[in-house]
Every structure is written in structure tokens, then in C-alpha cells.
Point group: C2
Chain length 324, copies 2
Amino acid sequence: MVRITDVATLAGVSIGTASKALNNTGQLRAETRQRVRDAADKLGFIMDARGRALSSGRSFTVGMITTDSFGRFSIPVMLGAEDVLSAGQMAVMMCDTRDDTVREQHYIRSLSSRRVDGIIVTGRSSDSRSPISVNIPVVYAFTPSTDPADVSISLDDARGAEVLVDHLLSRGRHRVAYVSGPHHHAAAVLRANAAAARLGSALVAPPLFGEWSERWGRQSVDLLLRSHPDLDSICAGSDQIARGVCDRLRELGRDIPNDVAVTGFDDWNVMALASRPPLTTVNLRLEDLGRFAGQALLDLIAGNRPDSVTIAPTLVIRESTVGY
Amino acid sequence: MVRITDVATLAGVSIGTASKALNNTGQLRAETRQRVRDAADKLGFIMDARGRALSSGRSFTVGMITTDSFGRFSIPVMLGAEDVLSAGQMAVMMCDTRDDTVREQHYIRSLSSRRVDGIIVTGRSSDSRSPISVNIPVVYAFTPSTDPADVSISLDDARGAEVLVDHLLSRGRHRVAYVSGPHHHAAAVLRANAAAARLGSALVAPPLFGEWSERWGRQSVDLLLRSHPDLDSICAGSDQIARGVCDRLRELGRDIPNDVAVTGFDDWNVMALASRPPLTTVNLRLEDLGRFAGQALLDLIAGNRPDSVTIAPTLVIRESTVGY
DNA sequence: GGAAATTCAGAATACGTTTTCCGAAATTAG
DNA sequence: CTAATTTCGGAAAACGTATTCTGAATTTCC
């Protein structure tokens, strides 16, 4: 392995000067800087990050902790974050706690030991979580911290529901049912309440709580149609539920969207695009969320204090609410 | 931050002795070792991995390169690998190349710079790829290297197809059709050929090549039923295709599995369990594959030379081939 | 009881950088 | 032509640990 010493020797300068040239620091003649760089190129020099980390106090590494086993939600967040972090020369260490406190402690210790410059914490749902205790910069992404003093980039669940309701209302729908996920899921309740409030008298029945599954979507159709055969829309708490809703409606011979319009939530392609018809839904912009989180972490590391941000999902209109 | 110096001072020993005590190396009295450990605990000492990496030549870090944007296939591989690696005190740096050679080079450079102890390369498909060029241990997982001298942990696609075919034959099916993915996908061809060879005269038509989608699954049913109305099974190249096949068969009033049995491939829960009925399929054991890869990398790092391994998928029997 | 063998711990060095002074050389001002 | 600035690059001290070598203290053996 070629060291900076070798580069310095070849360029005919001291090791300190070589360091400055390579890092664009210090006061050096342009010609000297170039000479060092040429030498480095010629030797195929790759800076040893260990030495740099030790002496500069910056490891150019951040940790990413998720409880989600890198599932459907944390992956896009991670990719977005990684996008801006790797542009900032940061490497990312992945830590999957699998919802286990012991594993989480293990990873926090490992990251501390490696003297990472910062940590991004994310998870499976937009419900908040208790903060981790470390004395380095931390940003919470998607899963906000319960401590308002922490910087969290979170999702505006309520706004997402409102956007969908507004879309339905603007299309002239006024007999709407809402099929939600499980009651113990804060985000499910948040979405249902926001939708209900916005719908007002256009809501034909109190939101139905169940589970995040296609099966529940199918079941809910039977339930709803029995009590409210004349409804003209079903707002589902997730794309998965919505797909089940569509399947059952089709089986019953109801035309979507002419008889009944259906909306989802998440813009999960596997569900939203594979559904028949494809779903009108809201895109969670998780990659954007990740990017914001990455940038916030970089700011925090640089010593600035970024604001917490909530990201509003965007409407995606497809055939489940609008015919040809 | 508390350093090993502080621990040594508190324990009343030299810094070198403290290091030995903490690492279980060297010749030390048990009592001394314990005294140092107690001091470390008392001070909440967390070893600085930078110093250790520099002086020991081991960074206790491995890189994980995927072309898959951490998608459906590389995630489980990654989790499996991470499982055994983190048990070996290794941290994992994630690198998502997004199928871009420039990004791949960037990451390889970054990992080299950080002096990782090894690299795991994985990807989107079981098709092989050209090896990366670095002078540290590398293991290819799921996506094997084209160079047989490299150690690759790969998936036995052909065996998976055979397992499914054997299951169908053993259930007395003898008029089987095969619906595959795209022709340019090596794994699709591999599976189709293996299935065809095993089926022999039980194969009613040459395998149909299309795409990895539910829609193609639905279309293929119409195609097949027109030319072979009396077939008793459809073998799909993936769970996604199989789900489409099931949907269309149900729409046409065919009973699954009594009229037609259907098999998938992948055991992707979102498809295999949500399908009606749930799919008989093969589980790819990607987590196992990842674990093998992780262990192989540890072996390689330790100086041993592990063998390349191919993993045989296992049969998962559900209602799409066996009635109640 | 002395010599030989063994056990234990410390001193010193190395790992590869960054960064803070400091002084020499070059430039400008008077 | 000397003095005051400015520009540039080097020397050396960190950063925190592992490891090798060596010597002292203890034990064992005859």
C-alpha cells in the first residue's frame, strides 16, 4: 500500500505539504499542489482513512439505525440519505436492530467505538419513538423522536389523507367510506381522523379499523356494502388494503371508478400499479425524506442547527378514481 | 472520551498491559486482567476503533456492494450476512451502485480507503457478473462471479425448478405448462430448461417467455388455455407471475388446485401468501445464502480458503397445488 | 541454596494522517 | 538598498491503540 510519505517523496515535498496539497488546505503554490497530485495519481495513492480519522477527529462515516430490517419504508429513506451523504464523502454503516433493545445497544456501542460523525435513526412506521442516548449528532427520519428538542424529519400523515379526500370531493364524490389499518397504529388513526374531519358529512360511516392486509380490504367491502350500498368511494388506509378493496368490488361486479372510486396510501408499486385498476394514492416521498435527513445530519455535523421538517405526501392520480 | 490511558492509570498498569487485558492477548495474571476490566467498566470505556484499526491492521469492517438498490433479493442476503458478520464484531458499510460502473468504482475506492477487511458483492439476479478488482478478500453472494477462482455463494435455480416439478409429478399431474420470465434473463432460462427436462413428456408445450409481472401471468393463462384447454398444472417462473395466473384462472372459473395446480418461485410473501389460494413455491433461502457468504468472508479474512457453494431452494407446499 | 526456567508486565515503536506553529525565501514598500 | 510584509513549505507533535522485545520477579529443579 502506498502511503502519503511515498507521494511526498516522489513530489519532493514534506509529508505535511503533501497532506495540504491533497486536502486543499494550507498555503501552497498552485504548482506545488499540482505536483503532489500528479505524484499521487502516478502512484495510485488511496488515502488511508484510518490515519485521517485519527488525526482529524472526523471519521467521515455515519451510522444508520433502523428497527425495520431494512423493509419497505426504511429502504427508500436510506437510499435518499445515502445519496446526499455519499456526495459528502460519507460512508454509511448499517445497523438493523430488529426491534431488539439489546441489539440496538450493541450497535450504538459499535458506532460510538468507530467514532462515527453522526447517526440517522429510522424505522418501520411514522409513529414516534424514544430517542437514543449518545453525544454525537443524531437525526430521526420517518420515525420521529418523542423529544421535540431532537431534529426529526417526519411524514405528514394527516396532510396525505387530506390531499386524497380533497381529490375525491373535487371529483364530485360525496358518499365516502374510510377503511383503516389497526387501531393501535398511531399513523392509521391520524390518517383516519384527518380524512373524517375533512370529509365532514360526506363520510357515510365511522372509519373501520382492521389490519394492513388485502384480506381486510376485501372483508371491509362486504361490511360496507351491506350497511351502505349506495356509497360512491372507499378511502383505504394503505395501498395493500385498497388493492383488496378493488379485488372484492370487481368480484361483486362494481365498476371502478364509475360505481365506486378507491384510493390507497403509500404508492407502493407492487400494490398500487398491480391493482386493477391502478390506484390513485399518495406518494410518501420517502427518498426525499431520506435526503432531507441526510442533509440535516451534514448540517448538524458542520455545527449548524437544522430545523425539524415534516414532509407532505403528494397526490398520484390513477384509474381507480378517474375513468378514461 | 475516555482513553485506554485512563483505564491503565486507574488500574495501575501500563497502557500496553491494559491493551492486552482488554483483548485477551499476551501473558497476564488473571487478577491483573480483571483489575483492568473493572477499571474499564467503571470508566465506561469504549475502545476507539480508529486507533485499533491503525495499529492492528484490521478494521473490523466489511463492505457490502449491491447493484440492486437494496431490493427484494439483496436485502435478505444482506441481513443474513450481517447476522454472522456482526456476531464476529464486524460492522458493515453499505454501497448501492445502482448498476452504475462509476458509482461502483467510487465505492470500491471508498472501501479501499477505509481498509475494510473484506467485501461482499451481491445483486439483483442470480446471473453472474464480472469480478471486481481489489486485493482484499471478496465473496460473491447470490450474483456469482464469472471467474471460477473467486468464491461465490450462489443459488441453484435448476434445482429449485426440479423440486417443484417433482412435487407436481408426485401429485399425479401430467399435463404441465411452464410460464417463464424474460428470455434474456439467464435464471429464467435455467429454470425453464431444468423444469422442461424433468417434465419430459408431461410438458404440454414449450415454455412461454414473457416478463416478471402479474399481467404476463394473466395473459399467459389465456394463451395456454386456448391451445391446451386440458392442462392440469401451470408452473410459473416467479411468484408474481403465479399470482397473475391464479387471478385469471379464478376469473375463468377454474378451481385451483382441483382443475389446475399452480406453482410459483421465490416465496415472496407479498405475492405467495396474498395470492388466492396461497402459492406452493420454493423458498430461495436468501438469508441462509447471506449467512454462508458472511461466514465464507470471515474464513477468507482468517486466511482459510472456503469453497464456493450453491444453495438449493426448498419446497414450500401451500393450497395452490394441494386441496384440503 | 544457587542456577535454570518460567511468568508476568513495562518501555518503546509503529500505524498513517492532520495540523499548528515557525522560519526561510520572496516580494513589496520606503 | 534596507526594512517590513507576505508567501510558502517544513518540523514536530498530536490522535489512540497493538505488539514486540526485554528485563525483572517469581517459581522450579537438582
